[in-house]
Every structure is written in C-alpha cells, then in structure tokens.
Symmetry: C2
Subunit: 139 residues, 2 copies
C-alpha cells in the first residue's frame, strides 16, 4: 500500500467515512495533484475510467463527492453552467473565469483586496466574500 493511500485511509476514518476502495480511488483522482483541481461530475467519471480499468458507479461518485463536500474537502463553485463544478481548493480564494473557453483559474486571497465593503442588511453578517473576474481573449 502506498504512503498516499494509507494517508487517505486515515483521513477518511478520521472523518467518519469508511475507507472503501471506491472512495480511495476517488481520493487519488482528486488529490494526487500538484495544483488545485476544478471538475464536474462527468469530468471525474471520465478521469476515473481512464485511471483504472474498473469503473465506479455514477451514484457512488455523486455520494462520495457530496460526502467530501460536507466534510469540507471540496467546495462547490457556481459558474452558471447547467452542471455543478467542484474545487479541491477549499480555502478562501477567488477566480478568473473565461466564459468562452470555460476556463477557471484560482486566485489566492492575498491577490485581491477590498477597500470598501458594504454594510450587510440588519441582522445579517458577512460570512464569505467571493470575487469573480470575468476574462476574455485580449484581441
């Protein structure tokens, strides 16, 4: 068993998730990466298919992604496509988004600073700030 695999097993157990072989494979597909990773469920299905000859059922992929999201290992991002996207970068951060190419690029939170912040409606507090910079080809 690889070091990484053992680590996933430990993390899954610590989160109250049983380390099944499907979950470990999904961990490998998602987190064995240098950069943070953006994906849709259908992206992930394809990646799993290519990575292992064995397949994981669609329902399991949905279940697992939702479980990982609930445990805070994934963040859902909303770009207005018809389908949901997920981000392995769960820290506070921002995005460049190219609507043409559907490219999504992470921006570290230090790269963006707000000078003026509006006062929230009474009885509410600001929980999170997300800035999306819509970009396009520079002709």
């Amino acid at each position: 068993m690889s070091n990484r695999e053992a680590n996933y097993i430990k993390k899954l157990r610590n989160s109250g998730l049983r380390p099944t072989k499907q979950r470990i494979k999904i961990c490998e597909a998602l987190f064995d990466r240098d950069k943070t990773f953006h994906f849709s469920i259908s992206d992930l299905m394809k990646i799993i298919k290519n990575l292992h000859n064995e397949k994981i059922s669609l329902a399991t992929v949905y279940n697992t992604i939702h479980a990982f999201q609930k445990k805070g290992y994934l963040k859902e991002i909303n770009l207005g496509n018809e389908n949901s996207f997920y981000d392995t970068n769960t820290s506070l951060h921002h995005h460049f988004y190219d609507e043409q190419t559907k490219e999504l690029i992470d921006i570290n939170s230090e790269e963006v600073e707000l000078k003026k912040i509006p006062t929230p409606p009474s009885g509410k507090k600001i929980e999170d700030i997300e800035v999306t910079f819509k970009i396009s080809k520079n002709i």
Copy 2:
C-alpha cells in the same frame, strides 16, 4: 394602449424583436417595477399566471427570456441552485446572498471598491468583476 405598453413595443422593435402580445406581457411582468427584480423561470410563470388569466407557454417564456438576455435587458446570475436566475438590473453590480433563505440583494457598484486587482493571465483582459458577499443570520 398604455404609455408603458407603447414604450415596450418601441423598444422591442428597436431591438429587432417583434412586439407580440406574449412579449409585451412578459415585459410588464418584469419591468413594471420600482426595484430591480430577481427571478427564476418558474417564478415568472407563476407571476404571469396571476397577472393575466391567459397563460403563456413555458417554451415561449424560455425563448423570450433568452432573447431579452441576448439583447442585454436581463442578466443571468449564478447562485448554484439547480435552476437559473435572472436579474433585471443589467448594470455592473454586486450581491449579498443568503444561502439559507436564498435571499439575493443587489449592491450598487459604488458600494464596493477594490484596492488590489490581480493581473489577468497573459492574452486575457478583465471584462467584468462580480463580488458576492455570502451572508447569514447574525446570532
């Protein structure tokens, strides 16, 4: 014919859209308002149903909203619900969003100022900046 109706007819014609009675009714439902308006297609269907006894088919509502969006009279907003939302405020602006209550509140662009803006990837330029302040009940 009301003043407003005549105005909608003119605007539709100027945009290259034939002023059909369905489109005029949809204009009334959307734009006869003081405040900017946020809605989903199903919201709009209900509103039309209540406003007039006559119904407009779902396909027409979709067609019309898409046409209005293409002409720049509506802006799509992405909140990560399963369905699309639209905003009659097409100017550059930002939002408060309460995920619990699904409340969405417009923020004028003057209320938000950015001190530091990241440099876009080479060959790309920033087209638009959207800031979402996620809010929640202040306990």
